[in-house]
Subunit: 134 residues, 2 copies
DNA sequence: CTGAGTGCAAAGGCTTTGCAAACCA
DNA sequence: TGGTTTGCAAAGCCTTTGCACTCAG
């Protein structure tokens, strides 16, 4: 299995910079539509397809991660330390949680079935403090 | 197929029964398209939209669970004891793993952030024994 | 200059829905 | 007969892509 990654060189364009900056400042994973809506406020000519292509290339280059959340669409965030997300099902607030030894545990459990674990995605939903009170 | 049994035999029931039976015998969560393809072999007139609507109603009634898997589409399986899935990224094989105390751990971790955990979905991908050897 | 990057519009690929015919009680 | 369920086709939606024009290098 060949593992060639991030070979393609991208030009440094205004759109790219704007998107990167936006992603760095984003507080939570956003959908393409959200990203486009927000960034195009400062850059009205920005086309959705451009956002689509740039984010996709960020993903291929390992700059962003895609977070697929049931019923919440594909979302993107800047790559950082391995972590998971907790989503409030009431207000949509998202919080990161560190992986701690979750991964390790899963790996052990998977091993018992003969699988070698390569990747895992954990989706947690619940109620945040505020919504729980109400 | 002529109705020889005394069970409810509305046309609906026939489709429903066929789908329910199929789901019970399925070895792994299947997409609507797979379910339709398979069940319609015995029931050629079965429309995709019928499968769509029945499975959806099964879901609403808590008879099946939807398993959303990144890049593998929404899949459905009969509801059973809480468990998670392990998917071989090479051959697509799927294996169930018991929840053990995974849920409990996640709940604790979530609590530390102030969230009350309501639900969680864990997607595990890796290589099954066979594919790992090769 | 030259090819990567962009905007626009249209094409795809599922998922859903409208509706009349088929059915069952 | 009244209320569902079904099959078919079309509508929606979001994701991708083709193409001509623009721009970074």
């Amino acid at each position: 299995m060949i593992n060639r990654k991030r070979e393609k060189v991208s030009r440094n364009t205004v759109s790219r910079e704007a998107l990167l900056l936006h992603l760095k400042q984003a507080r939570k994973p956003e959908t393409l539509e959200e990203i486009h809506r927000r960034v195009s406020k400062k850059m009205p000519s920005l086309a959705f397809s451009t956002v689509y292509r740039i984010i996709r290339s960020f993903e291929e280059q390992g700059i962003v991660d895609r977070v697929d959340w049931r019923d919440r669409g594909s979302r993107y965030e800047i790559v950082g330390p391995h972590h998971h997300h907790l989503v409030c099902e009431s207000c949509g607030a998202m919080k990161d949680i560190e992986d701690n030894d979750i991964s390790l545990n899963l790996k052990k459990i998977a091993a018992q079935t003969g699988f070698v674990l390569k990747d895992h995605i954990i989706e947690l939903t619940g109620l945040c403090e505020n919504c729980y009170k109400e």
